[in-house]
Symmetry: none
């Protein structure tokens, strides 16, 4: 309808054109039935037509040519007398005659619409100094890169690592500076890889030309942070001068635009029924999992998340050309770390704070920058929460590490669901580093990435439909965190006890609060990643 509308508006005499074209078509149709039953011919050049375009059966070439000519209002001049032959082979010899032919067969210029917005919202590479970026690239592709990669994921594996198969080792990609072995590459569990993708994509867009490089920079300190005794923050972590050296030159393209989630205005659909009330019935037995009853200071967590407080080191552009020389190092740090060590409070806001979803609830994370910081916040929240969970803190470092490394990805999704995170899968994928190669196998990767991102979205959506309450979130987190007690921990029994305690807590809570829904517990568990 619209096109007709436009047509009518835009041109008065188009109708006669149309009628003429149509008459021709009818005549042609009947006459050609014999010779050209299925293969229509381009009326301009005689090539095989791909359909009707601008009113005339024509090929894609002539279609595009006509469109470009009209759009850009091009005029051509024939070097001959305007008698050039227009056929599939010679049609590009003379644009003037080709265009003439288009008009003579009644291609309708009014059918060419206005230019539209580009289909891809891909943002241009935003680096002001390409040279430096290239040099940075050269650095990272060298070998030291590999070593770091290996040392970072030494334990990010599932229980078994039967990677010793000789066949596989043959398959190692052996580019010059890129000789990672499979042993090194395959330690991510599927779900971890899944989340790493979400993570990675934001990192990539943030300007790190090498995803894994920045990814390492991000994940390593975060995971290791779990081993830091609570609140015994190491001041060196704050030092930016050193870390920039460690992680490479100060020459990434990342700009400091929208580093932080704008606080309140983003909560578009927030309607919480604030159930902070009678949940403490089960309290006495739950010292391991302080639940929502202890109302945390939400403001504190808010401050932390939004990085508006002085407690948080805010990245400061040192040089306009290098707005964020060490793009992530600051964020790795929990806010309190930059303070003098404090006595551990009994409960940290982070523990229950995720229920306060008002930071970026259903607000569409359309901005990639925003998604980046939000992902980061969520990941950090996972670790922070665990660090502050008394039961977790009491474990030995080795077990802590194993548990967190095994579950961080699941926790990530769980906390994302808790916050009602919303993101656009396609937009994400569009920014991933996967789209530059048209090798067939590239497709498989894209398929998988898409599916996994989509799966995360579905999990989030499913949780949203269940309207999980705060106690349930707490229990679910603990259930996940202590889920893999069978993976060679030192304190297997203790972790299993914690796991089951969380389980029982969840069950009793659901039974009491939702007595009509006997299956609620099961339903929740089924949703876990």
């Amino acid at each position: 309808m619209k096109e007709a509308h436009n047509l009518a508006r835009r041109n008065i005499n188009s109708s006669s054109d149309q009628m003429k074209a149509r008459n021709d078509d009818r005549a042609n149709a009947s006459r050609f039935r014999n010779e050209e039953k299925h293969h229509d011919v381009c009326l301009v050049c005689g090539d095989r037509a791909s359909g009707r375009h601008y009113g005339v059966k024509s090929c894609d070439g002539c279609r595009g040519f006509f469109k470009r000519s009209i759009r850009r209002n091009l005029e051509y001049i024939c070097k001959e007398n305007g008698t050039c032959v227009v056929d599939p082979v010679r049609r590009n010899q003379c644009q003037a005659c080709r265009f003439q032919k288009c008009l003579s067969v009644n291609m309708n210029r009014n059918c060419v619409q206005h230019e539209r917005a580009p289909r891809s919202n891909r943002l241009p590479r935003e680096c002001s100094s390409p040279d430096k970026r290239f040099s940075y690239l050269d650095l990272t592709t060298s070998s030291s890169f590999d070593y770091n990669y290996t040392s970072i994921y030494p334990h990010l594996m599932t229980t078994r690592q039967d990677m010793s198969n000789s066949l596989l080792t043959q398959q190692v990609i052996s580019t010059k500076g890129n000789k990672k072995t499979f042993q090194q590459q395959l330690r991510l569990s599927s779900f971890q890889a899944q989340c790493a993708l979400v993570w990675r994509v934001s990192v990539l867009w943030s300007g790190g030309p090498h995803g894994s490089q920045t990814e390492r920079n991000l994940l390593l300190p975060i995971i290791q942070q779990s081993l830091v005794p609570t609140y015994s923050a190491d001041p060196t972590l704050v030092s930016t001068s050193k870390s920039s050296e460690i992680y490479g030159g100060p020459n990434t393209c990342l700009q400091d635009t929208q580093r932080h989630t704008p606080p309140q205005e983003l909560c578009s659909k927030r309607k919480r029924d604030t159930p902070t009330g009678q949940l403490e019935t089960t309290r006495p037995s739950q010292d391991d999992f302080p639940s929502s009853t202890t109302s945390p200071s939400l403001s504190s967590s808010k401050v932390f998340l939004t990085s508006t407080s002085g407690n948080v080191v805010v990245p400061t552009p040192i040089n306009p050309l290098h707005p964020l020389p060490v793009p992530f190092s600051y964020h790795v740090l929990p806010p309190l770390s930059s303070q003098a060590p404090l006595p551990p409070p009994p409960l940290h806001p982070m523990f229950a704070s995720p229920y306060v979803q008002s930071f970026f609830p259903l607000a569409q994370c359309s901005s990639f920058n925003r998604m980046t910081s939000i992902s980061e916040e969520i990941l950090l929240a996972c670790v922070t929460w665990a660090r502050l969970l008394p039961a977790f803190t009491a474990l030995n470092d080795s077990d802590k590490k194993i548990l967190l490394e095994a579950t961080w990805a699941e926790l990530f999704v769980l906390l994302a669901a808790e916050r009602g995170l919303h993101f656009d899968t396609s937009y994400f994928l569009a920014h991933m580093d996967l789209t530059s190669d048209d090798h067939p196998k590239q497709n498989q990767l894209l398929v998988i990435c898409y599916s996994q991102l989509q799966e995360v979205k579905d999990i989030i959506q499913s949780f949203r439909l269940l309207t999980v309450d705060m106690t349930e979130w707490s229990c679910l987190r603990s259930i996940v965190l202590f889920r893999y007690y069978a993976r060679g921990l030192k304190s297997t029994a203790e972790v299993q006890r914690l796991h089951e305690k969380a389980h029982l807590t969840l069950m009793s809570h659901c039974t009491r609060v939702y007595p009509t829904d006997v299956l609620r517990t099961n339903r929740l568990l089924l949703l876990l990643p």
Copy 2:
């Protein structure tokens, strides 16, 4: 040229229309009011409204646009400040602003329903004449093929399919006869993709040059088989002579693997009324899930699985050079199909038979061939079991299809666990078609494949540790099969009832049989894929 087409199609009086439309907008502001009454105006763009859509008077264009945006969960980004004008001419210039306008006039996203199955009157008739089959083949390799593919997997998706992102579309493999779009390629959920990998690897190794092609050929008939009325075994199913032509030359190593799909199944919307009469909706008993109490004839299933009985067509090496020329074809057939139709027995061995794990339990599936056929058996067992499940049979075809397509991959893993399947991930990967490229991105794909295979192994191992009993397996299967009752089924309530019934059955069973382990139910559920 659609506009010309439409215009012409619509007719003769177009000139008068244009005159009307040509009226100066400013001049006839008053008169315009009248027209607005007569023909309502699209509140979004101001075009002529075709009625109320999603709660708002709107034109067909805005209707379609809103529908697509919601369905695929699209998000747009305005290149301007979000101030673009949305009128009939410019509405396509900025999707972001158009969508914003849709929302601002209160188009209701909840009115957008789930995608339905494609209209079925589309498929070319399946003919008995071989000649026509060939012509059908020709069609299939070109564009109509895409259509078929689309219509086959219309619901193999998670709830959303935001695959329209333009960047992604660039990545499509565009060989001549292989122009699937991403919409078509990405309908597999992550977990389906995961299992498809297991599946695919065997297919690839079997010699199918085109993974997705053969994959489709394999999966399609198997899934559609679920729609075959129980025990109405069609003798033609066994006949292998004809159908190889349908799917391509006999030069593929798969040969007539796919031919088990009876002709009728290809016409998707076969009229089928549930033969079992009234659904036992109100029955409080557990007839829906005949569980282990009715002891099945295990020997029968054993016969089937081990392929040692005369009832089963056993693959026979035809040529030493091609030890398994038709590696899959025979296995597609459920054992009873090769028999004369039997009166439906109250319970089929398949239902509980998987508990008999002794066929290839801990035995290493070192042979790729064996892995191949075992995978297939398991996949077939999934479908067979579902087909013979009374509660499932009673559903309408559409719902059956949706459910099975959504869960087959999970069922695959579940049944694999039930059987104690063991395989060597590394060995698998070594045979996959992923290792020939040394592009860095290849690594990512390998990482993911490995992780996913490994994850399947872990699931299987975890189940093994729990020593799941037969009743539990049954319940778990049903829980999975009816898991996605919220995905736009026709009988949502019924399926949900079934789902919860399985749930309750499992709970009561666990409570009764394992009274000391109150968490057993939860533990089981947590293991589900």
